[in-house]
């Protein structure tokens, strides 16, 4: 289990002459191992450096703002994301109209009349003033509502994919790097074969096979994007496991799994967090791409990608249908990219951009980007 390095042998020799002072611990006796303090200073440092970086901090603020709007946005309007008013299609942003409707006993609504001028109220009916803040789409649906509904889908896909990628990539890479030997050999050979295939083709194939929908997108993205992370984690673990504190932890009675998950992985966390942060915009982008090609979420569900696709139909006459989703996709991806860069700087102040030295390392940094 323990790698038998020359240093271990030397240490063993040095120990022999004072043997009576040293008694072997019982296996998995964690009493001494648990007498450690959390490394709070390092984390505070990272947070502090991130706060100092104004650009990175505003990116974080934008992401939080977008997330809040994605949660509350659809409730800010009286429209639903799928409710159509065909007579009011392709209206410009800020279009105001009055709606007269009747509420049925079972909660459904029957629209009686709508007009740009104020309508008179009658017994048994209700009149409301409504505004298409971002205009309406080709089926007379409110673009503002659909946009924030799409934000929910897109952000959800981004974050859940990042989570899946994190779990698979860290476990796989961690096991391969820590145990080494033939386990590493086989696991990394599999990764190498899979990584040879262009990611996008892979995702497309999975999407064609799986039942289209949110679940399929999450599976397809999650299954693909963990590969570079597994390589990254493995490389980190390989270099970290030779450090003295690992020996110290082992001497103090920690088992393999404890060393891996409590000592090695937390120390490799910086680059992992950076990769996962950058996987979010990648997933959002890929989802938009898939929706645009026709492999994404089905109608009437809106995602930013499907909104762009719908907006593209009317590019000549109703540019706002394309502008709003395009703007918010770009803003989100930009914010996540900047946050990822700032996090990289915060975790490791020495390196700004990845310095590439060999063909191998291209899998480690973000060069696997889609266009």
């Amino acid at each position: 289990m323990a790698p038998n390095t020359p240093r271990d042998d030397q240490a063993a020799q040095a120990l022999t002459y004072e043997q009576e002072l040293f008694k072997p611990l019982k296996k998995n006796n964690l009493q001494n191992e648990l007498n450690t303090t959390l490394n709070i200073i390092y984390r505070q440092n990272v947070w502090w450096r991130l706060k100092e970086n104004r650009l990175g901090f505003s990116a974080l603020a934008i992401i939080i703002l977008l997330s809040i709007l994605a949660i509350i946005g659809p409730y800010l309007t009286p429209f639903s994301y799928s409710g159509q008013i065909l007579a009011l299609k392709n209206k410009a942003p800020g279009y105001t109209f009055y709606l007269k409707y009747k509420e049925n006993s079972n909660g459904t609504i029957k629209i009686i009349e709508y007009s740009e001028k104020p309508l008179k109220n009658e017994e048994g009916f209700k009149v409301e003033k409504r505004i298409f803040w971002f205009g309406s789409d080709a089926l007379g649906r409110d673009l503002f509502t659909r946009l924030w509904h799409g934000a929910r889908i897109s952000l959800f896909i981004g974050i859940v994919t990042a989570f899946i990628v994190f779990i698979i990539g860290v476990t796989y890479g961690g096991i391969a790097g820590y145990f080494g030997g033939w386990i590493d050999e086989i696991m990394m050979r599999i990764v190498e074969i899979l990584a040879g295939i262009p990611f996008l083709l892979y995702v497309i194939l999975l999407m064609v096979l799986l039942e289209p929908g949110l679940k399929a997108i999450l599976i397809a993205l999650g299954v693909v994007y963990w590969l570079p992370l597994a390589r990254l984690v493995r490389g980190q673990i390989l270099s970290l496991k030779e450090q003295e504190y690992v020996d110290a932890a082992r001497v103090a009675g920690a088992g393999s799994w404890r060393i891996l998950f409590k000592h090695l992985l937390p120390n490799a966390l910086g680059p992992i967090i950076v990769y996962v942060t950058l996987a979010i915009p990648e997933a959002i982008f890929t989802e938009a791409w898939l929706s645009f090609v026709g492999l994404g979420v089905g109608a009437p569900i809106a995602s930013w990608g499907s909104l762009v696709k719908e907006g593209f139909q009317g590019i000549g006459s109703y540019p706002w249908q394309l502008f709003f989703p395009a703007f918010f996709i770009t803003l989100t991806i930009l914010a996540f990219n900047i946050l990822g860069d700032s996090l990289r700087d915060a975790f490791d102040p020495r390196c700004g951009l990845p310095v590439v030295t060999s063909p191998r390392s291209k899998s480690v940094n973000r060069l696997t980007k889609n266009f």
Partner: protein
């Protein structure tokens, strides 16, 4: 070196085998036969068709035949377009895609290297910030959104360039420029960070001290040493541009392979989807290997060896 190449080719063949097998079993797993349609075929015709395409063989015979046919680059017929094979479609579409891809690679390398060099030479000055903001922005805008913006401005508002189709150089401009945004940004960032490092090296000081002209110092001494990552990036660059052109070709209605691919996805024309996937995988993996070998020629410092463990 020879060992490394041999191993890479071996991995490539394994990956291809994996793709071909996966595509075969995906074809089998997808519900609905290839000739299923609303109109019911007379049983005798259906029987003939089944016989013609050997669909009555057990799966392992079909699998074996499929492997052999794929190894012979026969990717089968299209289910949607009668009388057209996947090979025909690739032969029609790929030259167009390759042309677009080549121009895009050229644009992104030239612009990317220029932007990165300018930024590095004016480090922490206005030029630098401007170039890097441009690069970060270019990095974050999906290519299809760039395509829409360019199309809206140049085709619909200014009416300078055609919004779609293929033929003259004018048709090439908008798609190539929109595709080159992301790779340009990546190259600019790579060149900048490497250039900044190279410019601090002693040999640059020596070159300056010898009294060489500034341009010679930059081009012959600095840039040549900073360019390695761009060559490394060429592999993913080509992959990105070719897969990225799926959507761009679709938007600009360019009759390239990418458009056929997207169309076949929308038509659920499975043999075409899978055939083009196999073709693209082979093409892109070969390109990646070629780039890695080219790298050793350009930069003697790089040695192709197996991963250290």
């Amino acid at each position: 070196m020879a060992r490394y190449i041999l191993r890479r080719v071996g991995t490539m063949l394994l990956a291809l085998f994996f793709i071909v097998s996966a595509t075969f079993f995906m074809l089998k797993a997808i519900p609905g036969g290839p000739f299923a349609s609303e109109k019911k075929l007379p049983p005798s015709i259906e029987e003939n068709i089944t016989k013609k395409y050997h669909l009555d063989d057990p799966w392992y015979i079909q699998y074996r035949d499929y492997l052999i046919r794929t190894a012979e680059f026969d990717l089968g017929p299209s289910y949607r377009y009668e009388g057209r094979t996947v090979n025909d479609i690739i032969a029609d579409g790929f030259p167009v895609s390759a042309q677009l891809g080549f121009v895009t690679v050229l644009i992104s390398i030239v612009t990317g290297i220029s932007l990165g060099t300018i930024a590095a030479l004016n480090r922490n000055k206005f030029h630098d910030y401007f170039a890097m903001i441009l690069a970060t922005l270019g990095f974050s805008v999906p290519s299809f959104i760039v395509a829409f913006i360019l199309m809206y401005i140049f085709a619909y508002k200014l009416r300078l360039l055609p919004p779609a189709l293929w033929g003259t150089w004018k048709h090439l401009v908008l798609p190539a420029v929109s595709l080159s945004f992301v790779p340009t940004a990546v190259i600019a960032r790579l060149i900048r960070s490497n250039m900044v490092e190279v410019l601090q090296q002693d040999y640059i000081k020596t070159a300056k001290a010898k009294g060489l002209k500034k341009t010679i110092v930059i081009y012959r001494h600095a840039l040549r040493n900073a360019i390695t990552p761009v060559v490394i990036y060429l592999g993913p660059l080509v992959t990105g541009i070719f897969t990225g052109s799926f959507v761009i070709e679709h938007i600009f209605a360019i009759p390239g392979l990418g458009r056929h691919f997207v169309m076949s996805i929308q038509n659920r024309d499975y043999t075409v989807i899978l055939g083009i996937t196999v073709f693209y995988s082979l093409f892109l993996m070969t390109m990646n290997l070629a780039v890695d070998i080219m790298l050793t020629v350009i930069d003697p410092r790089v040695q192709l060896v197996d991963e250290k463990r």
